[in-house]
């Protein structure tokens, strides 16, 4: 009896193996022939464009919306469609369906003449300018601010330099605060080894492939193993679609404005001025203790880009009495776009925002 069960199990395994091998070959050909999956399909309008900056307004998806609009600030290294990968896998769509009015600050590759953009431009000009436009557009004074990675840094620095800002709540995802704990990035860009002046003076804007390579080198085997997993799961349409969307996003990196890169390296990476609360932007002290609004921070436990040790101290630096920290399993990208995000982060953040958006 036991022998017959074992034989039937092995026979089932072999059958699955054969079926999947056939499917892999068929789907593999489809994969090569088909175009990349469409991303960022949720209807939106560009309501403002200024060089490297685009401000999107997404069309509402609910009959009734919360009073306070949301502004999301994307990291300057990547495109914002990670917030809007595909229907059913889109953070923007999730927020819209929950009844929020959503705006997103997205970035284009900075043009050569934009090499002179500095932290001042992002923190004291772009963000306040977008907030003013949203206030006019919505007719509402208050705004909620959400920042991802470096977008979280810019949002935090904006709040720290604008104690009287109309922002009523601040949410950050995987935002570094202690730059000395940035792992290999800290080591590669250390003052002793890295001549940032020579690099920026020579290239103007820091090329996207240089940034891509430095991210890729953090996990050198990752890309190869990803391809093996893709082949292994080629029979699974959902896996392939998801793989292609994430792969497209991670390959589509943006160059960084030269002066902004120089300033970030010197002020944040070398001198760790955010953690020390000593950063001064165009004469204004970015005093993180001045951030008194409700604050939320989502951290990825296995983040290899912004390690847990780098992002963990963020909320401790704020002066707010209403702070919520959420540590989730997963990595830097899966935190906001992976299955765990759909199940845990999005509902938790939506619940947090609902109470603060009436």
């Amino acid at each position: 009896m036991a022998q017959s069960t074992e034989a039937s199990r092995i026979s089932g395994q072999v059958q699955t193996l054969i079926e999947r091998t056939i499917q892999r070959n068929i789907k593999g050909l489809e994969y090569i022939a088909s175009p990349a999956p469409a991303v960022g399909q949720t209807p939106k309008e560009i309501i403002h464009n200024r060089g490297t900056l685009n401000l999107y307004h997404y069309h509402p998806m609910a009959d009734e919306i919360y009073r306070v609009p949301i502004l999301m600030v994307m990291a300057t290294t990547n495109k914002s469609y990670i917030f809007d990968l595909a229907p059913g896998q889109s953070f923007v769509e999730f927020l819209l369906k929950a009844g929020f009015d959503v705006y997103v600050m997205d970035w284009n590759a900075p043009r050569p003449e934009e090499k002179s953009l500095r932290l001042t431009d992002y923190v004291l000009d772009f963000i306040p300018d977008c907030i003013n436009r949203i206030q006019r557009e919505s007719g509402v004074e208050d705004v909620s601010l959400i920042g991802y990675c470096m977008g979280g840094v810019l949002s935090t620095l904006y709040m720290a330099t604008h104690p009287d800002s109309p922002v009523t709540s601040l949410a950050c995802f995987t935002t570094p605060a202690d730059w000395s704990k940035m792992g290999l990035f800290s080591r590669w860009s250390s003052e002793e080894n890295f001549d940032v002046d020579r690099l920026v003076d020579a290239v103007g804007n820091v090329p996207a492939d240089m940034i891509f390579t430095s991210f890729d080198m953090l996990r050198p085997a990752n890309r190869q193993v990803g391809r093996i997993h893709l082949w292994d799961n080629m029979w699974n349409d959902e896996f392939v679609k998801s793989y292609r969307m994430f792969d497209r996003w991670s390959n589509e990196m943006l160059p960084l404005a030269g002066e902004y890169f120089r300033e970030t390296t010197k002020e944040l990476m070398w001198q760790n001025k955010m953690l020390k609360n000593e950063l001064v932007i165009n004469g204004r002290h970015a005093d993180l203790k001045q951030i008194k609004v409700p604050a939320f921070h989502a951290i990825a436990e296995h983040d290899h880009i912004v390690p847990l040790a780098a992002s963990k101290p963020l909320l401790d630096l704020f002066g707010s009495n209403d702070k919520t920290e959420m540590i989730l399993k997963g990595g830097h990208v899966s935190l906001i776009g992976g299955p765990n995000a759909v199940r845990r982060l999005w509902p938790a953040l939506t619940g947090w925002l609902e109470e603060r958006s009436e």
């Binding site: 509402p60 009073r67 043009r111 050569p112 557009e137 080894n193 085997a221 609902e354």
Partner: protein
């Protein structure tokens, strides 16, 4: 608590791949985390930049001889356009401020979609229980 072992060859293969990935990453991170690696990588970048700079200088000279604008010339032109853009943006801001005095309900751009009312309330705790 030991993990139940599987005799499925594909599971064993997946486990080996995962182990290989961890080992490679661990080894590479140890190697790339050294000062020697950082110094060598930065030296390589410096050499690359020097070559790039020399080529760029030669190219600029050639383009100038042929009366063709260089990347720097185009960037200068872009900068001028950006200044005009900034001025126009400031003028637009002023016009919006002026129009708000005339019609307080005016917004900055014409909406292509009708916005729903901003009356939604957060679900009360007892509603969700």
């Amino acid at each position: 608590m030991s993990k139940q072992s599987s005799n499925d060859p594909t599971d064993i293969w997946r486990s080996l791949i995962s182990q290989w990935e961890q080992n490679v990453d661990k080894f590479a991170n140890t190697m790339m985390g050294t000062d020697e690696f950082s110094k060598s990588a930065n030296l390589a970048t410096q050499v690359q930049l020097k070559i790039q700079s020399a080529i760029s200088e030669q190219m600029t000279k050639q383009l100038s001889l042929m009366n063709i604008p260089s990347k720097e010339d185009v960037a200068q032109l872009g900068l001028r356009l950006q200044n005009i853009d900034d001025r126009m943006r400031r003028m637009e801001e002023t016009l919006i401020q002026l129009s708000k005095h005339i019609d307080p309900a005016a917004t900055s751009h014409t909406k292509s979609v009708k916005m729903p009312p901003r009356t939604k309330k957060a679900p009360r705790k007892q509603d969700t229980d």
